[in-house]
Symmetry: C2
């Protein structure tokens, strides 16, 4: 299938074309950047929702409930689950098959697991590009579910329009969750399994954290941008007030509180639109994305076209033997790449 | 202080020189690669121990106990705690000060918190280089404690000689922990807070996982490398058998089981040495490190020297305005960088 065929297939909303386009992008096969470049004008209509939280927080079940609710409202939904690649199994331990059985057969739901490729350092970039394909295809809501609560996962969550952090009463001490650095990126907090002991304590901890955050946030805002009165607790996203991340108690398993969560996500989407925050965020992401595409291109240039891989292999024995160190070898490789480029070979 | 002064200071084991050298490396200031290059011959004597686990698993307390035990045995120890940089506070929420009070005043203990710089993508590289400085200084044991259980944290843990995964009974369902992909990188499992309910279940889950892992591992081993009989459960690291990661029950708070953990870490160090695994791993890491130093150099070349930053800023309006897309702009920037290099300006 050529890029033109894929494009035509996506415009005609054909599922096999979508699946092929995503595979092309995910594996970085020839023509993937040309495809993304052609799809670019169609990108930007979907609302992207990142779902992050510690293992065991019930993110998958919550995502399934969100899909059900969106479908009941007539929305099309895609789910991208970013799973870690295991060095042993060579892929995700849980595949698509045992996920989301209740919605898997709905033709207006598309579910895709991505195995992350840690070495390439481009997981967030690839996730974003897969979402771009789904967006161009016409899905109205895209859920991006990450596994784990580390730096890479934060970077992935930051590609979404709305970041939802899922916590459970047994997530551990509040201060420990704070340490993980995930608290501050969220636009919405979900206390899942809210019927379990410790839910009240978790809410208090989130409130304390949000108080700290608000204090800090204001400190960095120019005086004329500060609201004259502190925004009242209930006026979520109203008027000129900044967005105040709400903390919502739900039980994904019991299907309680999901409508409220969907409503809060929609309110956040409206806030993003109205406040100009959506264009600001998307612009920022375009910059970051362009930067990453350049870095990826440069890496290909250096290692594949510029002879870097061969030079590394050749120099390796000397590094292992101690006659040269990694910094000197890197310097040699860089000099070689520059010379190659100067000769017009790369 | 010149690089020569820093080198002399490190050779004389002067603390102020160490602190300055680490700051130089951590912030990537001028001369840091020259310093690391000069220190390279002195690197490789320390045993590096990575400590990973979910928030709330008690990693800091465990690290403190390990430091106490190493000190009681007359070893010098350094601790590198990699904390996430918060976009709000601009740094780690918990500083060095409230950490490890019991050992902080010991001149043979060095504790350093590193704020990670997610954007630069080089957290693991920088962590490794900070450890290289500590290694060159002469610390015998280096503990690398990470926060969170994501991909970046795994990459950091992979720079250690021995990876310790700390779990607690309340870490969540076993399958969820498996999903986080951290289980399989560990050389040692620690069940912390082992007196709490659920510890037995956690041990069973680890055993099941290790059984799966072993099965898979053997599948990828050439027939003549396979042990003729399955290695018995107790013969950890003995003879020609592959290393079988033990699962150790401890209570860091109650100071129980720590001696056993230290002994297991030492057994793993001996196994690495005896089996040739240590040189294999270190060689692999040298390759990866050289690759990263080249990538970092290329990024500096493209964005700072090659005019990429200016070209990105200039092209941004067109991307925002929709007259060019990120892929086309990236292509333009790359072409410009290549031309610059060809002209001998970079």
């Amino acid at each position: 299938m050529t890029t033109a065929d894929l494009l035509a297939g996506i415009e005609a909303r054909r599922m096999p074309a979508l699946a092929r386009a995503i595979s092309l992008v995910e594996n970085g096969r020839e023509g993937y950047e040309a495809l993304l470049s052609s799809l670019h004008p169609r990108v930007g209509r979907a609302h992207r929702i990142g779902i992050t939280g510690p293992p065991g927080a019930g993110k998958s079940t919550l995502a399934e409930r969100l899909v059900q609710t969106y479908r009941a409202g007539g929305r099309t939904v895609a789910v991208v689950a970013v799973d870690p690649t295991s060095p042993f199994t060579g892929g995700a331990l849980l595949g698509d098959r045992i996920r989301m059985e209740s919605v898997a057969l709905d033709p207006n739901v598309y579910i895709r697991s991505m195995a992350t490729r840690g070495e390439l350092g481009g997981v967030a970039t690839t996730t974003r590009e897969v979402c771009d394909v789904l967006d161009a295809f016409g899905f109205e809501r895209i859920l991006i579910e990450t596994v784990g609560v580390g730096q890479s996962e934060l970077t992935i969550a930051a590609t979404a329009d709305t970041a939802v952090l899922v916590l459970v009463p047994e997530s551990g001490d509040g201060i420990q969750v704070l340490k993980a650095g995930v608290m501050e990126i969220a636009d919405l907090y979900v206390i899942n399994k809210a019927d379990r002991p410790g839910a009240d304590r978790l809410r208090t901890e989130i409130d304390v954290m949000l108080g700290i955050r608000r204090g800090n946030a204001f400190r960095h805002v120019a005086p004329h941008h500060r609201p004259t009165t502190p925004p009242p607790g209930k006026s979520v996203g109203e008027g000129a007030a900044p967005w105040e991340p709400p903390a919502l108690a739900v039980s994904a398993v019991r299907n309680e509180g999901i409508d409220g969560l969907v409503a809060a996500i929609e309110r956040h989407a409206e806030y993003l639109q109205r406040s100009g925050e959506l264009s600001r965020r998307r612009r920022e992401r375009l910059v970051r994305h362009t930067r990453e595409v350049v870095d990826r291109g440069v890496r290909a240039l250096v290692w594949e076209e510029g002879g870097g891989e061969a030079a590394l292999r050749a120099g390796l024995e000397r590094v292992a033997g101690g006659t040269v160190n990694p910094y000197k070898l890197a310097h040699e490789i860089l000099a070689g790449v520059k010379k190659e480029m100067g000769n017009g070979h790369a």
